[in-house]
Amino acid sequence: MGNQFDINFMVTIALKAAIRYVPITLELALIPFVIGTILGTIIALVRLYNIKYISKILQVIVVIIKGVPVVLQLLIVYFAVLQCFDSVAKTLHLSIRAKNINSVYIGLVALSFFATAYISEAIRGALTAVKKGQYEAGYSVGLTKVQTLRQIILPQAIPVAMPMLCSNLIGLIKGSSLVFMISVTDLLNGALITANSNYKFLEAYVAAAIVYWILCIVIEKISYVLERKFYSFNGR
Protein backbone atom coordinates (compact mmCIF):
# COMPACT_ATOMS: atom_id res chain seq x y z
CA MET A 1 0.00 0.00 0.00
CA GLY A 2 1.89 2.99 -1.23
CA ASN A 3 -0.09 5.40 0.86
CA GLN A 4 1.45 4.63 4.21
CA PHE A 5 2.88 7.45 6.24
CA ASP A 6 6.58 6.97 5.78
CA ILE A 7 7.94 7.32 9.29
CA ASN A 8 11.36 6.23 8.16
CA PHE A 9 11.61 9.10 5.71
CA MET A 10 10.25 11.51 8.22
CA VAL A 11 12.74 10.67 10.91
CA THR A 12 15.87 10.04 8.88
CA ILE A 13 15.62 12.69 6.22
CA ALA A 14 12.98 15.29 6.95
CA LEU A 15 13.64 15.55 10.67
CA LYS A 16 17.39 15.78 10.15
CA ALA A 17 16.90 18.53 7.56
CA ALA A 18 14.61 20.41 9.90
CA ILE A 19 17.09 20.20 12.78
CA ARG A 20 19.88 21.39 10.51
CA TYR A 21 18.08 24.66 10.06
CA VAL A 22 17.18 25.20 13.71
CA PRO A 23 20.16 27.53 14.29
CA ILE A 24 19.07 29.86 11.49
CA THR A 25 15.50 29.84 12.68
CA LEU A 26 16.57 30.65 16.22
CA GLU A 27 18.83 33.39 14.92
CA LEU A 28 15.97 34.87 12.93
CA ALA A 29 13.75 34.78 15.98
CA LEU A 30 15.98 35.62 18.93
CA ILE A 31 17.88 38.54 17.46
CA PRO A 32 14.76 40.42 16.35
CA PHE A 33 13.26 39.52 19.74
CA VAL A 34 16.11 41.09 21.67
CA ILE A 35 16.21 44.15 19.44
CA GLY A 36 12.43 44.33 19.61
CA THR A 37 12.44 44.19 23.40
CA ILE A 38 15.00 46.96 23.77
CA LEU A 39 13.47 49.28 21.19
CA GLY A 40 9.97 48.20 22.08
CA THR A 41 10.42 49.15 25.71
CA ILE A 42 11.64 52.60 24.70
CA ILE A 43 8.70 53.07 22.37
CA ALA A 44 6.26 51.82 25.01
CA LEU A 45 7.65 54.26 27.56
CA VAL A 46 7.48 57.16 25.15
CA ARG A 47 3.86 56.37 24.38
CA LEU A 48 3.05 55.80 28.04
CA TYR A 49 4.34 59.20 29.10
CA ASN A 50 2.80 60.70 26.00
CA ILE A 51 5.84 62.72 24.98
CA LYS A 52 4.46 65.49 22.77
CA TYR A 53 4.89 64.75 19.04
CA ILE A 54 7.07 61.65 19.09
CA SER A 55 4.38 59.64 20.80
CA LYS A 56 1.88 60.29 18.04
CA ILE A 57 4.39 59.51 15.29
CA LEU A 58 5.40 56.28 16.95
CA GLN A 59 1.77 55.31 17.31
CA VAL A 60 1.25 55.66 13.58
CA ILE A 61 4.43 53.75 12.79
CA VAL A 62 3.45 50.89 15.08
CA VAL A 63 0.01 50.66 13.51
CA ILE A 64 1.52 50.59 10.04
CA ILE A 65 4.02 47.88 10.85
CA LYS A 66 1.37 45.80 12.57
CA GLY A 67 -1.11 46.25 9.75
CA VAL A 68 0.99 45.80 6.64
CA PRO A 69 1.69 42.16 5.77
CA VAL A 70 5.10 40.97 6.95
CA VAL A 71 5.76 39.59 3.50
CA LEU A 72 5.49 43.04 2.01
CA GLN A 73 7.79 44.53 4.64
CA LEU A 74 10.29 41.81 3.89
CA LEU A 75 10.14 42.50 0.16
CA ILE A 76 10.38 46.25 0.64
CA VAL A 77 13.52 45.90 2.75
CA TYR A 78 14.98 43.44 0.23
CA PHE A 79 14.37 45.67 -2.77
CA ALA A 80 15.47 48.78 -0.92
CA VAL A 81 18.74 47.17 0.09
CA LEU A 82 19.46 45.81 -3.38
CA GLN A 83 18.63 49.14 -4.92
CA CYS A 84 20.42 51.54 -2.63
CA PHE A 85 23.19 49.60 -0.96
CA ASP A 86 25.65 49.85 -3.79
CA SER A 87 25.52 53.62 -4.02
CA VAL A 88 25.83 53.99 -0.24
CA ALA A 89 28.74 51.56 -0.13
CA LYS A 90 30.56 53.40 -2.90
CA THR A 91 30.31 56.74 -1.11
CA LEU A 92 31.59 55.18 2.10
CA HIS A 93 34.34 53.44 0.16
CA LEU A 94 33.35 50.01 1.43
CA SER A 95 34.29 47.06 -0.68
CA ILE A 96 31.20 44.95 -0.14
CA ARG A 97 28.48 45.03 -2.72
CA ALA A 98 24.81 44.26 -2.31
CA LYS A 99 25.17 40.83 -3.80
CA ASN A 100 27.65 39.81 -1.14
CA ILE A 101 25.25 40.50 1.69
CA ASN A 102 23.76 37.35 3.03
CA SER A 103 20.00 37.68 2.72
CA VAL A 104 19.72 36.52 6.33
CA TYR A 105 20.72 40.01 7.45
CA ILE A 106 18.03 41.55 5.32
CA GLY A 107 15.56 39.16 6.89
CA LEU A 108 16.84 40.12 10.35
CA VAL A 109 16.27 43.81 9.68
CA ALA A 110 12.74 43.30 8.41
CA LEU A 111 11.83 40.95 11.25
CA SER A 112 13.31 43.37 13.78
CA PHE A 113 10.97 46.13 12.66
CA PHE A 114 8.11 43.69 12.93
CA ALA A 115 9.15 42.40 16.34
CA THR A 116 9.65 45.92 17.72
CA ALA A 117 6.12 46.94 16.83
CA TYR A 118 4.49 43.90 18.39
CA ILE A 119 6.67 43.81 21.49
CA SER A 120 6.16 47.52 22.13
CA GLU A 121 2.44 46.86 22.22
CA ALA A 122 2.87 43.99 24.66
CA ILE A 123 5.01 46.09 26.97
CA ARG A 124 2.71 49.07 26.70
CA GLY A 125 -0.20 46.86 27.70
CA ALA A 126 1.73 45.57 30.67
CA LEU A 127 2.74 49.05 31.80
CA THR A 128 -0.85 50.30 31.67
CA ALA A 129 -1.92 47.27 33.67
CA VAL A 130 0.04 48.55 36.63
CA LYS A 131 -2.31 50.84 38.48
CA LYS A 132 -1.76 54.55 38.24
CA GLY A 133 -1.64 54.69 42.00
CA GLN A 134 1.70 52.91 41.94
CA TYR A 135 3.25 55.64 39.82
CA GLU A 136 1.80 58.32 42.03
CA ALA A 137 2.96 56.58 45.19
CA GLY A 138 6.47 56.38 43.81
CA TYR A 139 6.61 60.08 42.98
CA SER A 140 5.07 61.04 46.30
CA VAL A 141 7.92 59.46 48.27
CA GLY A 142 10.41 61.37 46.18
CA LEU A 143 11.51 58.84 43.57
CA THR A 144 12.29 60.19 40.12
CA LYS A 145 10.46 58.90 37.05
CA VAL A 146 13.30 56.54 36.24
CA GLN A 147 13.60 55.20 39.77
CA THR A 148 9.87 54.66 39.98
CA LEU A 149 9.99 52.72 36.77
CA ARG A 150 12.87 50.54 37.74
CA GLN A 151 11.95 49.76 41.29
CA ILE A 152 8.20 49.79 41.38
CA ILE A 153 6.56 49.61 37.98
CA LEU A 154 8.75 47.22 36.00
CA PRO A 155 8.76 44.39 38.55
CA GLN A 156 4.99 44.50 38.45
CA ALA A 157 4.75 44.90 34.70
CA ILE A 158 7.08 42.07 33.72
CA PRO A 159 4.92 39.16 34.87
CA VAL A 160 1.97 40.69 33.03
CA ALA A 161 4.02 41.04 29.88
CA MET A 162 5.56 37.56 30.03
CA PRO A 163 2.78 35.56 28.33
CA MET A 164 2.51 38.06 25.50
CA LEU A 165 6.28 38.17 25.06
CA CYS A 166 6.32 34.40 25.05
CA SER A 167 3.64 34.41 22.34
CA ASN A 168 5.61 36.98 20.39
CA LEU A 169 8.78 34.93 20.49
CA ILE A 170 6.92 31.82 19.38
CA GLY A 171 5.28 33.87 16.65
CA LEU A 172 8.70 35.04 15.50
CA ILE A 173 10.02 31.51 15.41
CA LYS A 174 7.19 30.39 13.18
CA GLY A 175 7.05 33.63 11.22
CA SER A 176 10.72 33.36 10.34
CA SER A 177 9.71 30.85 7.69
CA LEU A 178 8.67 33.77 5.51
CA VAL A 179 12.29 34.57 4.74
CA PHE A 180 12.08 31.77 2.21
CA MET A 181 10.73 34.46 -0.07
CA ILE A 182 14.16 36.06 -0.14
CA SER A 183 15.90 32.72 -0.52
CA VAL A 184 16.81 32.01 3.09
CA THR A 185 16.02 28.45 4.04
CA ASP A 186 14.68 27.97 7.53
CA LEU A 187 13.38 25.01 9.51
CA LEU A 188 10.02 24.55 7.81
CA ASN A 189 11.26 24.94 4.28
CA GLY A 190 14.37 22.90 4.95
CA ALA A 191 12.10 19.99 5.78
CA LEU A 192 9.81 20.63 2.82
CA ILE A 193 12.69 20.71 0.36
CA THR A 194 13.48 17.10 1.19
CA ALA A 195 9.99 16.14 0.07
CA ASN A 196 10.40 17.70 -3.33
CA SER A 197 11.70 14.57 -5.02
CA ASN A 198 9.34 12.05 -3.51
CA TYR A 199 6.24 14.13 -2.78
CA LYS A 200 6.16 13.05 0.85
CA PHE A 201 5.05 16.48 2.02
CA LEU A 202 2.89 15.31 4.88
CA GLU A 203 5.87 13.62 6.52
CA ALA A 204 7.93 16.77 6.03
CA TYR A 205 5.29 18.99 7.61
CA VAL A 206 4.96 16.68 10.59
CA ALA A 207 8.73 16.59 11.08
CA ALA A 208 8.85 20.39 11.03
CA ALA A 209 5.87 20.60 13.39
CA ILE A 210 7.57 18.33 15.92
CA VAL A 211 10.72 20.45 15.94
CA TYR A 212 8.72 23.67 16.25
CA TRP A 213 6.69 22.19 19.06
CA ILE A 214 9.75 21.17 21.02
CA LEU A 215 11.24 24.66 20.64
CA CYS A 216 7.96 26.13 21.75
CA ILE A 217 7.73 23.89 24.81
CA VAL A 218 11.20 24.93 25.91
CA ILE A 219 10.26 28.59 25.62
CA GLU A 220 6.97 28.05 27.42
CA LYS A 221 8.70 26.30 30.30
CA ILE A 222 11.22 29.12 30.65
CA SER A 223 8.47 31.72 30.45
CA TYR A 224 6.39 29.93 33.06
CA VAL A 225 9.30 29.71 35.49
CA LEU A 226 10.12 33.40 35.04
CA GLU A 227 6.48 34.32 35.44
CA ARG A 228 6.22 32.46 38.73
CA LYS A 229 9.44 34.03 39.98
CA PHE A 230 8.28 37.56 39.24
CA TYR A 231 4.81 37.00 40.56
CA SER A 232 6.29 36.07 43.92
CA PHE A 233 7.03 39.77 44.32
CA ASN A 234 3.32 40.43 44.23
CA GLY A 235 2.68 38.02 47.03
CA ARG A 236 0.77 35.51 44.93
Binding site: V68, L72, F79
Partner: protein
Protein backbone atom coordinates in the same frame (compact mmCIF):
# COMPACT_ATOMS: atom_id res chain seq x y z
CA UNK B 1 12.98 50.29 -10.06
CA UNK B 2 10.26 51.79 -12.18
CA UNK B 3 9.77 48.51 -14.00
CA UNK B 4 9.40 46.53 -10.80
CA UNK B 5 6.78 48.72 -9.28
CA UNK B 6 4.01 50.47 -11.08
CA UNK B 7 2.06 52.68 -8.68
CA UNK B 8 -0.91 52.92 -11.05
CA UNK B 9 -1.41 49.19 -10.86
CA UNK B 10 -1.84 49.35 -7.10
CA UNK B 11 -5.03 51.30 -7.56
CA UNK B 12 -6.13 49.14 -10.45
CA UNK B 13 -5.85 46.07 -8.28
CA UNK B 14 -7.64 47.52 -5.26
CA UNK B 15 -11.18 46.76 -6.51
CA UNK B 16 -10.25 43.19 -7.36
CA UNK B 17 -8.77 42.67 -3.91
CA UNK B 18 -11.70 44.35 -2.22
CA UNK B 19 -14.01 41.87 -3.91
CA UNK B 20 -12.55 39.21 -1.64
CA UNK B 21 -12.64 41.25 1.53
CA UNK B 22 -15.83 39.57 2.71
CA UNK B 23 -13.93 36.31 3.06
CA UNK B 24 -11.15 37.91 5.06
CA UNK B 25 -13.62 39.68 7.33
CA UNK B 26 -15.68 36.54 7.78
CA UNK B 27 -12.61 34.56 8.81
CA UNK B 28 -11.32 37.23 11.16
CA UNK B 29 -14.70 37.92 12.74
CA UNK B 30 -15.68 34.31 13.39
CA UNK B 31 -12.19 33.49 14.61
CA UNK B 32 -12.26 36.43 17.03
CA UNK B 33 -15.69 35.61 18.46
CA UNK B 34 -14.96 31.89 18.72
CA UNK B 35 -11.51 32.65 20.04
CA UNK B 36 -12.68 34.93 22.81
CA UNK B 37 -15.45 32.63 24.01
CA UNK B 38 -13.56 29.38 23.81
CA UNK B 39 -10.39 31.14 24.91
CA UNK B 40 -12.04 32.40 28.08
CA UNK B 41 -13.28 28.91 28.86
CA UNK B 42 -9.76 27.52 28.41
CA UNK B 43 -8.28 30.34 30.48
CA UNK B 44 -10.65 29.70 33.35
CA UNK B 45 -9.87 25.99 33.27
CA UNK B 46 -6.19 26.82 33.51
CA UNK B 47 -6.61 29.35 36.30
CA UNK B 48 -8.77 27.15 38.49
CA UNK B 49 -6.61 24.15 37.65
CA UNK B 50 -9.53 21.83 37.09
CA UNK B 51 -8.03 18.37 37.50
CA UNK B 52 -7.53 16.48 34.21
CA UNK B 53 -8.83 19.24 31.97
CA UNK B 54 -6.01 21.51 33.05
CA UNK B 55 -3.37 19.17 31.62
CA UNK B 56 -5.31 18.54 28.42
CA UNK B 57 -5.85 22.24 27.86
CA UNK B 58 -2.19 22.93 28.55
CA UNK B 59 -1.14 20.41 25.90
CA UNK B 60 -3.70 21.75 23.46
CA UNK B 61 -2.55 25.34 23.89
CA UNK B 62 1.08 24.30 23.65
CA UNK B 63 0.44 22.37 20.44
CA UNK B 64 -1.59 25.12 18.76
CA UNK B 65 0.89 27.83 19.67
CA UNK B 66 3.94 25.76 18.88
CA UNK B 67 3.10 24.34 15.48
CA UNK B 68 2.63 26.20 12.22
CA UNK B 69 -1.00 26.99 11.49
CA UNK B 70 -0.75 25.15 8.20
CA UNK B 71 -0.15 21.89 10.05
CA UNK B 72 -3.23 22.57 12.15
CA UNK B 73 -5.12 23.18 8.94
CA UNK B 74 -4.04 19.78 7.65
CA UNK B 75 -5.16 18.10 10.84
CA UNK B 76 -8.57 19.76 10.72
CA UNK B 77 -9.05 19.31 6.98
CA UNK B 78 -7.58 15.83 6.51
CA UNK B 79 -7.39 14.33 9.98
CA UNK B 80 -10.78 15.06 11.55
CA UNK B 81 -12.81 13.73 8.62
CA UNK B 82 -10.65 10.61 8.67
CA UNK B 83 -11.31 9.98 12.34
CA UNK B 84 -15.01 10.70 11.95
CA UNK B 85 -15.15 8.45 8.89
CA UNK B 86 -14.08 5.54 11.02
CA UNK B 87 -16.99 6.34 13.30
CA UNK B 88 -19.27 6.34 10.30
CA UNK B 89 -19.76 10.09 9.87
CA UNK B 90 -18.86 11.51 6.50
CA UNK B 91 -18.03 15.20 6.55
CA UNK B 92 -15.89 15.24 3.47
CA UNK B 93 -18.52 17.12 1.54
CA UNK B 94 -18.57 20.09 3.85
CA UNK B 95 -17.50 23.38 2.36
CA UNK B 96 -13.78 23.95 2.73
CA UNK B 97 -14.53 27.31 4.30
CA UNK B 98 -15.96 25.59 7.38
CA UNK B 99 -12.72 23.71 7.95
CA UNK B 100 -10.76 26.92 7.61
CA UNK B 101 -13.01 28.70 10.10
CA UNK B 102 -12.67 25.83 12.57
CA UNK B 103 -8.90 25.91 12.23
CA UNK B 104 -8.74 29.64 12.80
CA UNK B 105 -11.16 29.48 15.70
CA UNK B 106 -9.16 26.79 17.44
CA UNK B 107 -5.92 28.58 16.73
CA UNK B 108 -7.14 31.94 17.99
CA UNK B 109 -8.66 30.38 21.12
CA UNK B 110 -5.27 29.12 22.22
CA UNK B 111 -3.64 32.51 21.84
CA UNK B 112 -6.59 34.34 23.36
CA UNK B 113 -6.69 32.02 26.34
CA UNK B 114 -3.12 32.93 27.20
CA UNK B 115 -3.88 36.64 26.91
CA UNK B 116 -7.01 36.29 29.03
CA UNK B 117 -5.26 34.12 31.59
CA UNK B 118 -2.48 36.65 32.04
CA UNK B 119 -4.95 39.50 32.21
CA UNK B 120 -7.04 37.82 34.88
CA UNK B 121 -4.06 36.86 37.00
CA UNK B 122 -2.73 40.39 36.72
CA UNK B 123 -5.70 41.73 38.61
CA UNK B 124 -4.36 41.71 42.15
CA UNK B 125 -5.82 39.09 44.40
CA UNK B 126 -6.91 41.73 46.83
CA UNK B 127 -9.73 42.62 44.49
CA UNK B 128 -11.36 39.22 44.61
CA UNK B 129 -10.77 38.94 48.35
CA UNK B 130 -12.41 42.31 48.88
CA UNK B 131 -15.45 41.43 46.83
CA UNK B 132 -15.93 38.05 48.55
CA UNK B 133 -15.76 39.84 51.87
CA UNK B 134 -18.67 42.10 50.91
CA UNK B 135 -20.72 39.09 49.95
CA UNK B 136 -20.45 38.82 46.16
CA UNK B 137 -20.47 35.31 44.73
CA UNK B 138 -17.66 34.00 42.57
CA UNK B 139 -19.58 34.68 39.37
CA UNK B 140 -20.64 38.17 40.42
CA UNK B 141 -17.05 38.94 41.32
CA UNK B 142 -15.92 37.88 37.91
CA UNK B 143 -18.47 39.89 36.00
CA UNK B 144 -18.34 43.06 38.03
CA UNK B 145 -14.86 43.36 39.43
CA UNK B 146 -12.26 41.10 37.86
CA UNK B 147 -13.60 40.97 34.32
CA UNK B 148 -13.61 44.66 33.48
CA UNK B 149 -10.16 45.17 34.97
CA UNK B 150 -8.82 42.20 33.11
CA UNK B 151 -10.41 43.43 29.91
CA UNK B 152 -8.55 46.70 30.18
CA UNK B 153 -5.23 44.87 30.41
CA UNK B 154 -6.09 42.42 27.69
CA UNK B 155 -7.46 44.87 25.17
CA UNK B 156 -4.18 45.93 23.51
CA UNK B 157 -3.13 42.31 23.13
CA UNK B 158 -6.52 41.29 21.80
CA UNK B 159 -6.51 44.03 19.20
CA UNK B 160 -2.99 43.03 18.22
CA UNK B 161 -4.11 39.44 17.78
CA UNK B 162 -7.02 40.50 15.60
CA UNK B 163 -4.74 42.55 13.37
CA UNK B 164 -2.43 39.56 13.18
CA UNK B 165 -5.33 37.38 12.08
CA UNK B 166 -5.80 39.58 9.04
CA UNK B 167 -2.47 38.43 7.75
CA UNK B 168 -2.78 34.83 8.89
CA UNK B 169 -5.88 34.45 6.75
CA UNK B 170 -3.51 34.00 3.83
CA UNK B 171 -3.13 30.33 4.67
CA UNK B 172 -6.67 29.66 3.51
CA UNK B 173 -5.47 30.10 -0.04
CA UNK B 174 -3.50 26.88 0.04
CA UNK B 175 -6.81 25.06 0.36
CA UNK B 176 -8.32 27.12 -2.39
CA UNK B 177 -10.28 29.67 -0.36
CA UNK B 178 -9.50 32.99 -1.92
CA UNK B 179 -9.34 35.85 0.55
CA UNK B 180 -7.58 39.18 0.06
CA UNK B 181 -4.06 37.77 0.40
CA UNK B 182 -5.03 34.81 -1.75
CA UNK B 183 -6.30 37.17 -4.42
CA UNK B 184 -2.87 38.81 -4.39
CA UNK B 185 -1.38 35.45 -5.37
CA UNK B 186 -4.02 34.87 -8.04
CA UNK B 187 -3.32 38.32 -9.42
CA UNK B 188 0.39 37.74 -9.26
CA UNK B 189 0.09 34.50 -11.16
CA UNK B 190 -1.92 36.18 -13.88
CA UNK B 191 -0.01 39.43 -14.26
CA UNK B 192 3.35 38.77 -12.56
CA UNK B 193 2.82 41.96 -10.55
CA UNK B 194 2.77 40.39 -7.13
CA UNK B 195 4.41 43.37 -5.44
CA UNK B 196 1.77 45.89 -6.50
CA UNK B 197 -0.77 43.38 -5.24
CA UNK B 198 0.91 43.17 -1.85
CA UNK B 199 1.01 46.96 -1.60
CA UNK B 200 -2.69 47.19 -2.38
CA UNK B 201 -3.36 44.49 0.22
CA UNK B 202 -1.14 46.40 2.63
CA UNK B 203 -3.30 49.47 2.22
CA UNK B 204 -6.46 47.48 2.85
CA UNK B 205 -5.03 45.77 5.92
CA UNK B 206 -3.64 49.03 7.25
CA UNK B 207 -7.08 50.63 7.06
CA UNK B 208 -8.70 47.61 8.69
CA UNK B 209 -6.02 47.49 11.36
CA UNK B 210 -6.41 51.19 12.08
CA UNK B 211 -10.15 50.75 12.50
CA UNK B 212 -9.62 47.90 14.96
CA UNK B 213 -7.11 50.02 16.90
CA UNK B 214 -9.45 53.01 17.02
CA UNK B 215 -12.36 50.90 18.25
CA UNK B 216 -10.29 49.22 20.92
CA UNK B 217 -8.86 52.58 21.97
CA UNK B 218 -12.37 53.95 22.42
CA UNK B 219 -13.38 50.97 24.50
CA UNK B 220 -10.27 51.40 26.60
CA UNK B 221 -10.98 55.04 27.31
CA UNK B 222 -14.65 54.71 27.91
CA UNK B 223 -14.85 51.89 30.42
CA UNK B 224 -15.87 53.31 33.74
CA UNK B 225 -13.07 51.50 35.49
CA UNK B 226 -10.39 53.43 33.69
CA UNK B 227 -10.20 55.72 36.66
CA UNK B 228 -7.96 53.16 38.37
Amino acid sequence: MAQYFDGKLVFEYLPELLSRIHITLLLVFTATVFGMIFGSVLALIRIHKILILNQLVAIYISFVRGTPIIVQMFIVYYGFPAILMNLGIDINRWDKLIFVIITYGLNTSAFMSEIIRSAITSVSIGQSEASYSVGLTKIQTFYRIIGPQALKTALPSISTTIVGLLQDSAIAFSLGIVDVMGEVQVLGARTYHTIEGYVAAGIIFFVLGAIVEKVSGCIEKNTLFSKL
